[in-house]
Symmetry: C2
Subunit: 220 residues, 2 copies
């Protein structure tokens, strides 16, 4: 069923079913991402990944060298995704208060829309971020968010709407924590408190709450 892959990018596409390096690489990466996100690093099986691929295990080692190499490629690829969208928000033109709300909403939505990414981050944390730290690709990645926050905060303070004593990194931590928890800890939290956190309704309510928490914290 995943036979229609290899479409986007790659010299293949025009009928040739065999010999498609870019498509094969992409295919492996996609499957591996799901597999690692679903089972963790040790839990993921190279054989299983290979089986779900339209190619063979041989190719995984041909392109990525080892299981760890594959995992690193998956991780870097996932982090790359964020950088792309980030920045396209153009918050500079908005009122600081509106801009802040938009930023929090965006963060919340993005994390909710990218469960696999969240899970990879969780997995990295369990491994004390050793892969992340060894990767140059991810060097100073999310610095953009901090800059954006810094801008919004100063503008808000200048206009008197925001209070003093707000550190960009700390605020980002607060926003991240609230957004992250909703995706990452939903299984255990729901299990213990018998609540549904994944329904459209619950998400909308929580989203508003998270924005509220942040706004009450920054407003003067």
């Amino acid at each position: 069923m995943a036979r229609t892959r290899s479409s986007e990018a790659g010299p293949a596409e025009r009928g040739s079913r065999t010999q498609d390096p870019v498509g094969v690489k992409r295919d492996i990466l996609d499957v591996a991402t799901k597999e690692f996100a679903a089972n963790g690093y040790s839990g993921a099986r190279v054989d299983e990944i290979a089986a779900r691929t339209r190619t063979s295990k041989r190719m995984i080692y041909y392109y990525f060298g080892s299981k760890k190499g594959l995992y690193l490629a998956v991780l870097e690829n996932a982090y790359r995704g964020i950088r792309e969208v980030e920045g396209g928000l153009n918050l500079d033109t908005l009122e600081p208060e509106i801009a802040m709300r938009a930023l929090v909403a965006y963060t919340f939505d993005y994390q909710n829309a990218h469960h696999e990414f969240i899970r990879l981050v969780m997995i990295e944390n369990i491994h004390d971020a050793e892969h992340l730290r060894s990767s140059e690709v991810i060097e100073g990645l999310n610095v953009g968010v901090i800059e954006t926050l810094k801008q919004i905060i100063s503008r808000g303070q200048r206009s008197g709407k925001f209070r003093n004593g707000l550190a960009p990194i700390d605020l980002h931590m607060t926003i991240s924590a609230l957004a992250f928890f909703n995706v990452a800890n939903s299984p255990t939290f729901s299990a213990i408190f018998k609540v549904d956190m994944r329904s459209m309704n619950a998400l909308a309510i929580r989203r508003a709450q998270v924005i509220d928490v942040v706004m009450r914290y920054v407003l003067a």
Copy 2:
């Protein structure tokens, strides 16, 4: 070096080095907790656990049946730890505002003091809480916190200090999110933003911030 174990609890202790069911069980559980917390479910090795124990792998299967059985015991044991301390705070006698601050501070401190527990929760979440859900021991466990919160909120509202529209569960989610993130995501967050989140100083600052975030959210 862990040879001095088996001390607390158990019919052993009085010199007899052999035959000490309670101590052996306790020993296995302790070692397994660290091992699972450090490497995840799949990453943990039964042989490794056995090696770090003063007993043999045979005993693990004798007492816990399987790797999964051992993991479940570890999980339940870890959750049991919370229930014990919880409730000994006696927040009912304090002013609602003080009580709320104390509760947040307690949550933050507890999670910081129990990294292994946090890691086990992370691991459970990666596995979609399937073990947690299958465990009767953990049935309605943290309900106590919700009751406590409910009390504090109503008292705060009656005295006019707290605003309306505060749901105990949601508030608990906010508090948990902020406390949890600091322990759970510290590896990746520190790696990306080059900050230290584990120093005494950083912890104290963050703790105050978290309390502040919550208080600004609940105060009228």
